[in-house]
């Protein structure tokens, strides 16, 4: 390891990592063994954390599906600064982004979008992690992070541009500290790691200045964990001690392929082999996602290096509007997860605790209706770009082929004027 690149305290050494306590401070679960009998006698298939419909005993949770608040000595301090207004803000985020998602799905069905990638069911994982970011932190999304985009202030219309086909998804990444959507599965984890290495070179790690120290968060899905790029990103993040948090939304399905086809071991276990902590959190619990991500981002900013978070959630809808999940999964499974809905559990909690009134919920519903209508009307008004735009941004500096082809294209187009 390159000690000169490491600022602040470092990751726990191998001995510290082997204590086997499922807590935030030490998140590994079992002893490494050098005994042949143990190595060859164990059966990973019976591992309680094996990919399955249940999160298992090591999944961190503070809000049950019924909306009951479970005390947690570790997570509670991370949630203590949240006001009632913050909690209502989470609810608002969850409801509004779900409405955007529903509206976009409808627009696709009506032929106004080429495709839409629904986040239905994953709102809490995205809002919890997105709201845990500091303004200077930087996110590298997949193509499903509409909820994170929302938290970073990206107008949903800018996401929709990509799916309507008027551009490839263009927003001001410097303003939002939210990179463009990446469609190549897993590639963004390496871009995020490189960006985090740059943060480190800038000296924006471990200074103790809350406005300067910066973390990077790389979003990925369970399917992406099979990509070599993701393994390489974990190698680079580990050996350079880069200030990056890998936030994996395990929504159980990579199009039609279940978790079992992507990983034999629970996904969060993977980090351990790369020398840094992994942890599983209930991805439908917005508070637990917020707390765990906040802690991991703080660790990254302070120089403790990377963390891998597996948010255990479920893709309630299809992979995209082009997909048909009835061909490969049973509805009973979906029913189980409906019971774990991230919005309902927060609503029950807010109601039970008296953090919000019925007027509040009605107002949010009205705001969602308004937002949905606005997304709809503005989508329909999105203009097609001029054809010449395809030549405009290919190179930063002057390029003779672009100039010539743009000219030829324009002349060819002009030749039809009045002729057709």
């Amino acid at each position: 390891m390159r000690s000169d690149l490491i600022t602040g305290s470092s990751n726990p050494g191998p001995d510290e990592m082997d204590k086997g306590v499922p807590t935030l401070s030490d998140v590994t679960t079992d002893e490494l063994s050098s005994s042949l009998a143990e190595v060859f006698g164990s059966n990973p298939v019976t591992d309680p954390d094996r990919p399955a419909a249940e999160g298992g005993p090591h999944m961190l949770q503070v809000l049950t599906p019924e909306g009951e608040r479970v005390p947690s000595p570790e997570l509670d301090p991370l949630l203590s600064d949240l006001t009632d207004e913050d909690l209502r803000g989470f609810y608002r985020d969850l409801v509004l982004i779900r409405r955007v998602d529903a509206e976009a799905t409808a627009l696709q069905r009506q032929g106004e979008l080429g495709i839409w990638v629904s986040l239905l069911g994953q709102e809490a994982a995205q809002v919890g992690s997105g709201r845990a970011m500091a303004p200077q932190d930087y996110a590298f999304p997949t193509y499903r992070e509409h909820g994170v985009a929302w938290c970073r202030g990206v107008d949903p219309l800018e996401l929709i541009g990509l799916f309507r086909g008027v551009n490839h998804g263009v927003w001001d990444t410097q303003k939002h500290h939210f990179h463009l959507y990446t469609i190549i599965i897993g590639a963004q984890t390496l871009h995020a790691t490189g960006y985090a290495m740059g943060v480190q070179l800038d000296g924006h790690v471990g200074t103790g200045d809350a406005n300067r120290d910066t973390a990077v968060i790389a979003y990925l899905g369970d399917g992406a964990t099979s990509q070599g790029d993701v393994s390489e990103s974990l190698v680079f993040a580990g050996v350079y001690n880069a200030p990056v948090v890998f936030f994996c939304q395990n929504n159980q399905w990579a199009i039609s392929e279940p978790n079992e086809r992507q990983s034999r071991a629970p996904i969060w276990h993977r980090a351990r082999g790369f020398g840094f902590p992994g942890i599983r959190v209930d991805g439908n619990d917005v508070l637990a996602c917020y707390a765990v991500t906040k802690r991991a981002l703080e660790a990254a900013r302070s120089g403790q290096g990377p963390t891998f978070i597996e948010a255990f959630t479920y893709r309630m809808g299809a992979h995209t509007t082009s997909d048909d999940p009835t061909k490969y999964r049973v509805s009973a499974e979906v029913e189980v997860w409906k019971h774990r809905d991230p919005i309902q559990r927060l609503r029950r909690y807010l109601e039970r605790q008296g953090h919000a009134t019925s007027e509040f919920f009605e107002a949010i519903d009205a705001e969602a209706d308004e937002l949905g209508a606005s997304v709809r009307s503005r989508t329909l008004a999105l203009p097609d770009p001029p054809g010449t735009e395809m030549f405009d941004f290919v190179y930063a500096a002057e390029h003779p082929v672009m100039s010539r082809e743009r000219e030829e294209f324009a002349a060819y187009q002009a030749s039809f004027e009045g002729g057709h």
Binding site: R2, D4, L5, N167, H168, G169, V170, D172, T173, Q174, H179, L180, T182, I184, A187, L190, H191, A192, T193, G194, Y195, A196, M197, G198, V199, L201, D202, G228, D229, E232, S233, V235, F236, V239, D392, F393, V394, Y395, A396, A397, H399, P400, V401
Partner: protein
């Protein structure tokens, strides 16, 4: 007589100058630190600029190029060394899918001024995957600039120009010419996208680049002794191609022979021939001929000299051109 420098050292001094001029320039690659790279191009740079700016990376080409992209998004100008031509393929996806496209898809909002240095070509008696010429893959990809140097002067100045360029540049270095010596002058010969007429002539234009430039200059010398005047154009830039210089030469000579190590099928010569016939049709006195590698996997070292274009094959093509 001015001091002579090897092509490799021309690159070293060019990298050094770029790093001195801009603190955002960082080098990344396998074994480029203490070892100075397997060809010693980065020798001494880690000692002088530190481990943070001359990074020995994990042995993972996709990871090297993709983290360089991330560094560029953060505002750095990474210069990546791919150890050998045949090892760039794990990084291919990141080069063509992200590096080449990010500026376009962000409508110019994100610049990725990454330079990917690739030692290329054969002739050093190497094992498999160490002698390839894969420039056409990248020249085919919009959003990239692709250059190939042939001499110490260009090595020094073109690496500096490539690093200063706001676009990604795939930078080819002819590995069997690393030890060729020459003068490094005080200024670049032209901009990064320009070709250079290295030898003027009147009978046949030879278009070449990288390791074949020396071969073609030697062929021109031999041809002169037989009374034939060859004009040798070092393309230097493979994307974009300096068509102005190329077309002007062929308008003068009326004949064109294209020489490269890469297989001829869909190689640079195919594109050059297409463009030359389209734009110089009425100047041409003979069919455009290509001299290149055969369309086979790069052969074992003991027969590579029969695969690689050499002086005799270039002159043979010149002879065939002159029969028309």
């Amino acid at each position: 007589m001015a001091e002579l420098t090897t092509l490799a050292k021309g690159l070293t001094t060019g990298l050094r100058a770029a790093m001195e001029a801009d603190p955002k320039v960082v080098l990344m690659g396998e074994d480029i630190g203490k070892l100075g790279g397997v060809f010693r191009v980065t020798e001494g740079l880690q000692k002088d600029f530190g481990e943070e700016r001359v990074m020995d990376t994990p042995l993972a080409e996709a990871g090297i190029v993709a983290t360089a992209i991330g560094l560029a998004i953060r505002g750095y100008r990474p210069v990546v060394e791919i150890q050998f031509d045949g090892f760039v393929y794990p990084a291919f996806d990141h080069i063509v899918s992200t590096l080449a496209k990010l500026h376009a898809r962000s409508h110019g909002g994100i610049r990725v001024p990454v330079v990917v240095r690739i030692p290329f070509g054969g002739g050093i008696g190497a094992v498999e995957h160490h002698s390839e010429s894969n420039e056409a893959y990248f020249a085919h990809t919009a959003g990239l600039r692709v250059v190939a140097v042939s001499n110490p002067h260009d090595a020094h100045w073109m690496i500096r120009q490539a690093i200063e360029c706001d676009d990604p540049v795939i930078f080819y270095e002819p590995k069997r010419r690393y030890w060729d010596k020459g003068e490094v002058g005080e200024a670049p010969r032209g901009d990064l996208g320009s070709a250079q007429v290295l030898r003027e002539g009147t009978d046949v234009t030879i278009l070449c680049y990288g390791p074949m430039v020396r071969t073609c200059l030697q062929a021109a010398q031999a041809a002169e002794e037989e009374g034939r005047s060859l004009e040798v154009v070092d393309l230097r830039s493979l994307s974009p191609i300096d068509t102005e210089t190329v077309f002007a030469s062929i308008a003068k000579t009326g004949r064109c022979v294209i020489v490269h190590e890469a297989a001829t099928f869909l190689g640079m010569g195919a594109e050059l021939a297409a463009q030359v016939q389209e734009h110089c049709f009425y100047s041409l006195e003979a069919p455009i001929l290509r001299v290149g590698g055969y369309n086979v996997p790069y052969p074992p070292a003991r027969i590579e000299e029969e695969f690689l274009p050499d002086l005799d094959r270039v002159l043979d093509a010149v002879d065939r051109s002159m029969t028309h």
